[in-house]
């Protein structure tokens, strides 16, 4: 017996002859928060509508808790609830909005009142019960939308980019409260987002989508630390993607030749001669004053490359640094590093300054070469 709260198989949705969703199989386990991640146009929102039974697929089967369901199945739809990116609040008061799902289920007036009060309390907007929805801020409106969905006590809660329209501060508090509510209720949640920070802050599992297909799915840590290909690595934060050939393998460490003078050591399983792609996250790059890479240093960092700062961009407390490595071919692209503002000052980083970049062999991800960057 499957413990899947939601399963989809052979799901296809076509618009104007173009397959916008083509999902072989996906499962959401009960009580888990699953984030469906992908860039704009990946088919996330269409998949959201299909899974939430708001739209019928052209092909495929969806089951909720082992039971086959369709968009025409009102009983099945009443076991789930959806919150959209732009909350469409109905004209009237907050309490009336939150009560909507109960009204359509013909729940008694007395019980409706109690459950609405509880949902508003849970989402931290009890003080807005009698407020007209037109008076609400974006964050308050999204909380009303969340309360409106939670009040029906859904078995599966679908969230479509619930915080992407909010200001940074409001978004932070909304996500924090959302995580706390979801943890407390133990509800199965399907979260659609293009923002990996939203996925990381809320989800236990992720489903990566591109061009309507699932590229990789699994636990957040698994997908983050073992991206399947360059697309997933890039989406999970790697900015430096190189391609090369495994030159030798020794004690579990592969030496990959990227260019004539650029060797990268990576802890991974591969064979000599394999063509591979490598991904490096900017936060895994450590910069230091330029010193000869051959000079002995007391460090576990196996990859040390000299180069010149090509460009840099300050972004709040951090700085993005792009480094042209000595010996790297132009088509490999610069190495992207993320350093703190104090480090920028300490190293006197500026375009043209020579630095040494270090990356641990365990921080380099070896990818399927067939993946596209």
């Amino acid at each position: 017996m499957s413990d899947g709260a939601l399963e989809a198989s052979g799901l296809v949705r076509t618009y104007d002859g173009r397959r916008v969703v083509d999902v072989e199989h996906m499962t959401v386990e009960e009580g888990r928060v699953v984030a469906i991640l992908g860039p704009n146009g990946a088919g996330k929102s269409t998949l959201f509508r299909l899974l939430a039974l708001l739209e019928a697929p052209d092909e495929g089967v969806i089951t909720h808790f082992g039971r086959r369901v369709t968009a025409r199945d009102t009983v099945a739809r009443r076991r789930v609830a959806a919150v959209f990116q732009s909350p469409f609040l109905f004209q009237g008061k907050v309490s009336s909005n939150v009560a909507y799902g109960l009204r359509v289920r013909r729940v008694s007036r007395k019980e409706t009142g109690l459950r609405v009060a509880k949902a508003l309390e849970l989402t931290g907007i009890a003080h807005l019960t009698a407020a007209e929805v037109k008076t609400l801020s974006g964050g308050e409106a999204q909380r009303v939308a969340l309360a409106r969905a939670l009040v029906v006590e859904p078995s599966i809660l679908f969230l479509d980019e619930p915080s992407s329209n909010l200001d940074v501060d409001v978004r932070r508090s909304f996500r924090r409260d959302l995580r706390s509510i979801v943890e407390r209720l133990g509800t199965t949640v399907v979260l659609i987002t293009h923002d990996r920070s939203e996925a990381f802050s809320l989800a236990q599992s992720v489903v990566l989508m591109r061009d309507g297909r699932i590229v990789q799915q699994g636990g957040v840590d698994e997908v983050y630390s073992r991206p399947k290909d360059a697309f997933v690595a890039g989406f999970m934060g790697a900015r430096t993607i190189w391609r090369g050939v495994v030159a030798r393998v020794s004690d579990g460490i592969c030496s990959v030749r990227v260019d004539d003078r650029l060797m990268v050591e990576v802890v991974a399983e591969a064979s000599t001669g394999d063509r591979v792609a490598l991904a490096i996250r900017p936060e895994d790059v450590v910069l230091s004053f330029d010193a000869s890479p051959e000079a002995p240093v007391a460090t576990s960092v196996r990859n040390r490359w000299s180069g010149v700062v090509e460009s840099m961009r300050m972004a709040g407390p951090l700085a993005d640094i792009w480094i042209d490595l000595d010996g790297a071919a132009a088509d490999s692209g610069p190495l992207h590093a993320l350093v703190t503002r104090p480090s920028v000052q300490e190293l006197s980083l500026a375009p043209g300054v020579r630095v040494t970049a270090g990356v641990k062999a365990t921080a380099v991800h070896l990818l399927d070469e067939t993946g596209e960057g």
């Binding site: 739809r77 959209f84 359509v104 289920r105």
Partner: protein, 240 residues
Amino acid sequence: MQLFWDAIVEAFRLLGSLNSYVFQVIGLSLEVSGSAVLIGLVIGIPLGLWLGLSRFPGRSLLVALVNTGMGLPPVVVGLFVLMMLSRRGPLGFLSLLYSPPAMVVAQVILATPYIAAITMSAVGSLPREARLQALGLGASRAQSILLVLREARVGVMTAVIAGFGAVISEVGAVMMVGGNIAGTDGNKTRVLTTAIVQESRMGHFGTAMALGLILLALAFTAMMLLTRVQEGSGARWMKS
């Protein structure tokens, strides 16, 4: 100018005398146009909802036809209904010609496109999420459509106003299919607009003017009431 002055004096004298002929004409006008708008709502609102919420092959053609319907000349509609209901026409067996029901039929044809087109526009201007949100909270298809209608109610009231305005003031269609029959008993088909034409032709400018003023007052009152309802819906929504 004396002609106008005499007419205005006659108009107020007639209104003050509570003339039964005048009240009979007013009553029939309201009955025919009111019935036409009600039937037009029954046809036009579902049609507007369907066109506003659905996407299907041929929709553009239907939308164009409905929009064209707002420009239908009343006299052409009258001619069409006349031919349909005439003895030799396909619906001649109903014997409805020159009767209030025939006038209602003609006015329904005139009012429905206004109601459908404006409802369609009001519904279509709502975000797609409106209906999806209702469905996403467990509404049935019918409940989600009712929600959309409720959210678009200001626009729907505009449709009612436009439909009523289109029929209360038209003369061509009711003249052709009603026949402008006056009388104290039997099948009377004289309404305000046709009565104005009739009285003017007979040189009774005072009576015609009185009926014209009544028509204006009637239209104004009806529009004021509908506008109040419309603004009430909007005001509650827009408040603060």
